[in-house]
Symmetry: C2
Subunit: 424 residues, 2 copies
């Protein structure tokens, strides 16, 4: 299907965007289609990626034609439940391609993390339909780079900033509840719809269902014979940030049903002796498949991502017990602040506990601590992560990288050596 | 006087510290003693620097012998008034020398700002008496680098973290008032002294007096013939973070009396045609005199620092009208949060208004926007600062540097060209 007319109507720079459209299939093909024995249930996700700037954006266009609104977010601390309860569509906006980085560097310092640069570049270069379709951009004060980047973005787009606390004391939770209430009001204003307790409850259940589906999918990675690659799991997780929640929930369960069969037959997506790697660190936004591809072509299997694009996104559900808006906001605050151990908090020792627990649960042979270049908070926290894992006898490799391919060969060598070192 | 016995008793690494003691006089001499026509009133400040790790630390040792406590701080958002009211001595701890950077890099990523690296290095290497003497280290969540660095520092030193809001809405001021109350309680616990309204009021007046003295000193820089160099003003400001507040107030006024005489005679510390430069950006901790020296040996005079080590430190006084602790805490919060336009806040447009106003008040010919390497918040905000100044017809030069001398020649060339460009 040809989406050019739609892209043009969205005010996109279609000519520049064509370059991305030309490059993506090749990149996707070499990373994904090269895999043997792909589950059939992945077809849906592959088809979504194949038309990533077409299929879903066309649905958003349709939604807007009917008076609906689109809310774009950049962070898993920001609850989708609230815009959904207001009748809006929530979509992730984090950008994972080097394609958008130079556009961001026109206004941001080079010494900014590639995720932030790419996100702003996607907006300013008009080369991403999601960045044209969002009626409200929800920024958050999680890190210095984002906090200040929203000021630049706000000159070109309607930005609402959520002030995430930096600590997790009782007064900080109270502050976050207030921020969520402000967000709810903003979403009501944007959509013109009142968020009723019934609507919010419905949204909480809807998003929890997506989480439970992802939990079910992840559980297969705990098996000795893992019936799905880390790359495929990552792709499903990434798409979960964009796709219709009910539909993707169904598709994930369909995939899980197939994996159930595979599991019965002790089918493994990896050859015997493949080393099990837990990835921790900064998020991997679509189409950032770089590290997974390197690991899984170097004798390793990614069994878990202790990342925003991983466990932190789906491992914990929101308590569904509340009946008033205030109670549900309280439950959302508990989940979206207490339940996420991001390096933006100080202190953040729970993250290290999480990694150690996940290493056991997913039987990881080693951990790769991955840092996007110029991400200060994860970079500094890496000091503790790597020290504590070593102290616990867990092999760990620290890697810093960006969205370019310039370091691929070096990373392959380092990752290969690390995996070899994990022994038998 | 020989302070070696004191340094040893403080558990310092005296041998490594000797290297610093050997280097400092040369550095100080070439930057400061090379100046012609230095005011006699600067002698006090020169003598303080000459024995920076001796004179004042000896006073702190004496204070502690008598049961007193020392509170070390890293940020001008943290009010000295509170520890002073509790009977403690407050001292600045920010470090401005490359000497301490490698020590910080042992635990912090290289891509961290030199101020943070040097501060941690000074503690971990045991080469700064102030870092041995502080009974409480007060960190603050101003930037990602500091926020996460306190976690590392806290493994070796007693750290109290103050959570500075990231925005300036009414609820953020309320949050900051709470943080100040918590700080007051901490200081009471540390010293065993109750902070009474009378004591707090006294401390507010004491610190205001120091501010007023610095304001008086700065006012001479508004004259057409400036009777004091920017380097000397910077040194006085830097020492104000460490010295006894009453004594330095007196010494600054003594210096001002002398400058008064100079002003009457239209004496200028600079040759005719010297260009007036306003510096804005990240702080210049002692002994970081690099940019001032380059500017003032390249045909420029620094007339104002829109910096933490400048205007932001002394331009605004705390309202002295309160009579209860709560009222005074409110006044302190207004001054220490509302009155400081740090790039850690979002948005922070008031800073640009400040720069434009100061350019007029100090009749600056141009602005140098100075960024310490890897300081994200000022780096990103520089986008607005430089754009808005250019739009207002104010020449501006953006410079990024660190504590090393490696870029000195390049900076001299760039600064020299900028000053030449300012014309006649």
């Amino acid at each position: 299907m040809d989406y050019r007319a739609m892209w043009e109507s969205l005010g996109m720079d279609v000519k520049t965007h064509d370059l991305l459209c030309e490059a993506l299939p090749g990149a996707f093909g070499s990373v994904y289609l090269s895999q043997d024995n792909r589950p059939e249930g992945m077809d849906y996700f592959y088809s979504v990626v194949a038309a990533i700037h077409g299929l879903r954006p066309a649905e958003l266009v349709e939604h807007k034609k009917n008076g609906g609104k689109v809310v774009g977010t950049f962070c898993i601390h920001v609850p989708d439940e609230i815009p959904i309860a207001a009748g809006a569509i929530a979509t992730g906006l984090c950008s994972g391609s080097q394609f958008w980085v130079p556009g961001g560097e026109k206004k941001l310092p080079v010494a900014t993390c590639p995720l932030i640069k790419a996100s702003l570049g996607a907006r300013f270069d008009r080369t991403c339909p999601f960045f044209r379709l969002a009626d409200m951009f929800v920024g958050e004060n999680t890190c210095d780079g984002k906090k200040k980047a929203w000021e630049i973005l706000a000159e070109d787009a309607p930005v609402h900033v959520m002030d995430i606390p930096q600590m997790k004391r009782p007064e900080d939770f109270a502050h976050w509840e207030n921020e969520l209430k402000g967000y709810l009001k903003k979403c009501e204003e944007l959509t013109g719809n009142k968020v009723t307790p019934a609507k919010l409850r419905e949204a909480i259940i809807l998003v929890n269902k997506k989480r439970k589906a992802l939990q079910r999918l992840a559980s297969f990675r705990k098996l000795d014979n893992i019936p799905i690659t880390g790359k495929d799991m990552l792709l499903v997780t990434q798409i979960a940030f964009y796709d219709d929640p009910a539909r993707i929930t169904e598709q994930i369960h369909k995939l899980c049903d197939e994996l159930e069969e595979r599991a019965k037959n002790n089918f493994s997506s990896f050859p015997k002796g493949t080393k099990r790697i837990l990835l921790t660190g900064t998020p991997l936004s679509i189409p950032n498949w770089k590290m997974h591809h390197i690991i899984e072509t170097s004798g390793g299997a990614v069994v878990c991502e202790e990342m925003c694009t991983g466990i932190r996104y789906y491992e914990k559900c929101v308590d569904e017990s509340g009946s008033t808006i205030d109670e549900m906001i309280h439950n959302l605050a508990q989940r979206y602040m207490g339940g996420i151990h991001c390096a933006c908090f100080t202190p953040n020792a729970e993250r290290i506990d999480d990694i150690k627990r996940l290493v056991k649960e997913y039987k990881a042979d080693g951990v790769i601590d991955l840092n996007l270049k110029f991400c200060n908070i994860y970079d500094i926290e890496g000091f503790f992560v790597e020290r504590e894992l070593k102290a616990a006898g867990i092999p760990v490799l620290g890697i810093e990288t960006d969205y370019t391919d310039q370091d691929s060969e070096q990373l392959k060598t380092r990752v290969g050596a690390f995996i070899e070192m994990l022994g038998n």
